[in-house]
Symmetry: C2
Subunit: 203 residues, 2 copies
């Protein structure tokens, strides 16, 4: 049912969908606002009625990515037994899986496609929401006496950094390994998370 109305009706969402689809295929770097508009069935200037510029549309999609990841952490926490440390491990593995499933979204979220976030407070808020899910888990682990009593920000950032770096190295194919398949990634994310929890040094 192709709509040939002059007024699209919900062009804002149509642009979001078109952009997400094109980015998922080609990546942020290689997607133009003109082809997004074309995919949404409008002229190349129509998008400016709904987004300030190209970056605002990208920021909108990045925000969605952060909210999805935060929601994944909440769900993972809710459905994982064994206490905060097991939940933290599960969230770490879920982060890597998210990156593998939506590599272009993760790239969009953390690349310099949106260099300055100050113009997008909702994006900062969504990012803080994600950080918050991790910090809560760390706080619970510390309260239970399972995680070190280091400053909570230190522990949170350490855990986040590990899974973040691992994910980026994997999806960017920067690891000197021939075949990076799902089994390898699953094994590796498990091993790395365990080493994070128990330390790389002996006992």
């Amino acid at each position: 049912m192709a709509e040939r109305k002059y007024h699209h009706g919900d062009l804002k969402n149509a642009l979001r969908t078109a952009a997400a689809g094109l980015i998922a295929v080609h990546g942020v770097e290689r997607v133009s606002l003109r082809e997004i508009s074309q995919a949404a069935g409008v002229s190349h200037a129509a998008a400016y009625r709904h987004f300030a510029d190209k970056q605002a549309l990208l920021a909108d999609l990045a925000e969605d990515g952060f909210r999805q990841l935060a929601e994944i952490n909440r769900r993972t926490t809710a459905t994982t037994a064994g206490g905060p440390v097991e939940q933290l491990k599960a969230c770490g593995r879920a982060y890597v899986r998210f990156g593998l499933e939506r590599p272009k979204v993760l790239e969009l979220m953390f690349s310099q496609a949106i260099p300055d976030w100050s113009a997008y407070p909702q994006l900062s808020q969504a990012s803080a929401e994600l950080a918050g899910t991790l910090a809560s888990l760390v706080a619970a682990g510390q309260a239970a006496g399972l995680l070190r009593a280091s400053p909570i920000g230190d522990v949170t950032l350490t855990a986040w950094s590990l899974v973040h770096g691992l994910t980026l190295l994997i999806v960017g194919r920067r690891i000197p390994v021939e075949d990076i398949d799902d089994a390898f990634v699953e094994r590796m994310s498990h091993a790395c998370v365990e080493l994070l929890v128990h330390g790389i040094a002996v006992g």
Copy 2:
């Protein structure tokens, strides 16, 4: 002493220098081959005599970044006392410092500016060289009985992932912290590396 010769003499290096300078200021995403050529004092088509295309020039610069980082690891290892674990920690902190000093170079090295490395074997080799410096350190630590006897790739990737993720989160300003100054970074990289070594879980 401005040279007005038709034949530049060493345009290839002049382009490298101009590109590195512009990228250090504006970042890869916002630098065009045309302005690089202009900065080097030649017409916008001249670069194609020395590099296959824009990406080949970027790959050349990224390769240099990897070699510099590998060299930093070698020097840090050579000048750090206390054995492989202390050397590994020092390399980790040096990685973060490199990222802070040359954020745009790190971005270039790991961004999707060069999506497929298969056309640039020297780049892959330089990256492997960097990974090798870390792997050697891990091997030495394991041989001395100081690091866990997990598969060497697991331990190496864990360490690399942590400092890589930490560095990217810091230089990308993705950490929900108001003031990210040098003191904060130095303290944070120290804390994260310690937590990596001893684990985030209690004793």
